[in-house]
Amino acid sequence: MKEEYVIQAENLTKRFGNFTAVDHITFNVRKGEIFGFLGANGAGKTTAMRMLCGLSRPSEGRGTVASFDIEREPEKVKRNIGYMSQKFSLYEDLKVWENLRLYGGIYGMKDKEIAEKTDAVLRGIDMESERNTMVCDLPLGWKQKLAFAVSTFHNPKIVFLDEPTGGVDPITRRRFWEQIYGAASSGITVFVTTHYMDEAEYCDRVSIMVDGRIKALDSPMALRNKFGVSDMDEVFRMLAREATRKGD
């Protein structure tokens, strides 16, 4: 295995009783890559992601994230990753800077570092004037921007985004992807799950999960060529048609 991979999964499996949610998946993610993790509801995306984040122990197989073993060193894994969920997960009754300070503090950053980083981050997302605004008073798109800024605040090696664009309009989504590109160009690896196939096109490589297995893994262009179709949507539908599991 080469050093350049920041996520390595080898036969990663998770069983709940008789049900195999994730079935021997194997893949690698390169440093600075935007890796799209696609799949229908219930395909096992979230379970796989939880294992990579150190939240859930694999039943079988092994994985490393930021070169730490996810089973033996989950605490070290957690120090090196950021996470943003579909719900944006900010504290609505805290001010913008208080949210940033809280997460900075949780990741053990020094006060001075937090203060400097807060200025830089707010400048970066054009929200300097909103420093003292309560999060509940921000429009949805801004919350999303802020949530992403929070998830990368502590300079993680990898950021996991779990359907980060749910319920957001196309223009805001497009802007959000610019923010993702920005992070990737600064060396942060982005691991993103999404439902929107147009977003899959923005990824460097995508994997498509069906019934707990990875059915396809390549760059969007290579996948289109392989299946002989014009967009990712059709690729996805061709693969998802084989699914026997019902979405939840």
Binding site: K87, D93, G105
Partner: protein, 368 residues
């Protein structure tokens, strides 16, 4: 440690910025105390008295007249038949039955001691003890007057009985009861809501992905509510001593010690609730119905445990607040030393340890 401080600060911000929570947390204990304190201890005025007086002497007449003349009592009935004493309260009109001995006059002058029985309705213990208090006072005045005209000092000994509540649960019952209820409410309900809110908002996920250890998340969630509970405990004690005039008869450190155990118990109960429910509404319902009602009805706050039917007494034994209220009542009202509340302390400690273990276990299970 820094993580912990930052997190606790955030929890306090949540509480301070939510005016409704603040109102419940700090306003409710006071409202409850004052409400229970002043609404229940109603003033005694024109209480109707039934008298059983077989002796019909000058002395007893003087006493009756003194009662009738006071603003607190009115002689409403002369009972001729002893068996009627038991029935007299059932109509709800009579508040006090005064029974003189057969030979009151002679006992008083020859023996120097004469007994008067004061019977009240123990189903309203607060009212009943107020009434007996006033009645004893009037008897004392009568005694003084009678002594003046006699060569030998004579004494009238009031013998107090509360029908239906023979243990004579005191007027101050509600203070330990309210303490039990408030602490249970704030610790268990507020903690469970605070944790479930993180689940509902999705912030719990972010916290679990962070390097912050779950045990720190729990501890920092619980710390503000522990602090506020202590504030409330002190507020209640101050109110009860200085506003309601209920003294603390026993040792204050012991009282605080038992309360801290109970607070831990309630906090772990809140944690347990937060592990099994997923919405704030459910948390509120479970702690409201599952904790508040039993505490109010079964802990002796409103109805003395001793006068409950046996099945309810058994049921009350599984309500932890009942043991706390019992212990506090013993310490605060009866001034009991630690050896008299060892049973209660033991039970509370046992339940606390069991709940902490159980809630940590369910918390871990939920993570996996």
């Amino acid at each position: 440690m820094k993580q912990f401080i930052i997190f606790v600060r955030k929890e306090f911000l949540h509480i301070f910025r939510d005016s409704r929570t603040m109102l419940i947390l700090l306003g409710m204990p006071m409202v409850q105390m004052l409400l229970f304190g002043f609404a229940i201890t109603t003033e005694v005025r024109n209480t109707k008295v039934a008298v059983f007086d077989p002796s019909q002497s000058m002395e007893t007449r003087a006493i009756k007249e003194r009662f009738d003349a006071s603003e607190y009592f009115t002689i409403a009935e002369e009972i001729r038949d002893v068996s009627r004493i038991n029935d007299v309260f059932k109509y709800g009109e009579i508040g006090l039955v005064m029974v003189f001995s057969d030979d009151f006059e002679n006992e008083l002058h020859l023996g120097g001691d004469a007994a008067v029985q004061l019977i009240t309705d123990g189903t309203e213990p607060n009212q009943a003890s107020m009434i007996t208090g006033y009645a004893s006072n009037i008897l004392a005045q009568s005694m003084q007057e009678l002594s003046e005209g006699s060569s030998v000092p004579c004494r009238i000994i009031p013998e107090i009985r509360m029908l239906y509540n023979p243990q004579a649960e005191s007027a101050y019952n509600f203070v330990p009861g309210v303490m039990g209820m408030i602490l249970m409410l704030i610790c268990a309900m507020m903690t469970s809501i605070a944790i479930v809110r993180e689940k509902e908002n999705g912030t719990m996920e972010i916290l679990l992905v962070s390097p912050m250890k779950p045990i720190y998340i729990i501890l920092s969630k619980v710390t503000p509510y522990f602090t506020l509970s202590m504030v409330n405990l002190i507020t209640i004690l101050l109110l009860s001593v200085y506003v309601l005039g209920v003294p603390i008869a026993g040792s204050l450190p012991l009282l605080l010690f038992v309360s801290v155990i109970f607070i831990f118990l309630a906090l772990s109960l809140g944690l347990l609730i937060s592990n099994v429910v997923n919405t704030q509404v459910a948390a509120m319902l479970v702690s409201g119905m599952g904790l508040m009602m039993p505490v109010m009805l079964l802990s002796g706050l409103i109805f003395p445990v001793e006068s409950m039917p046996i099945p309810l007494q058994c049921l009350s034994a599984i309500v932890p607040a009942r043991w706390y209220v019992d212990a506090i009542r013993k310490i605060m009202i009866q001034g009991a030393e630690i050896q008299f509340v060892l049973k209660e302390i033991g039970i509370l400690l046992f339940v606390t340890v069991a709940l902490v273990a159980l809630s940590l276990k369910t918390f871990k299970n939920r993570l996996n």
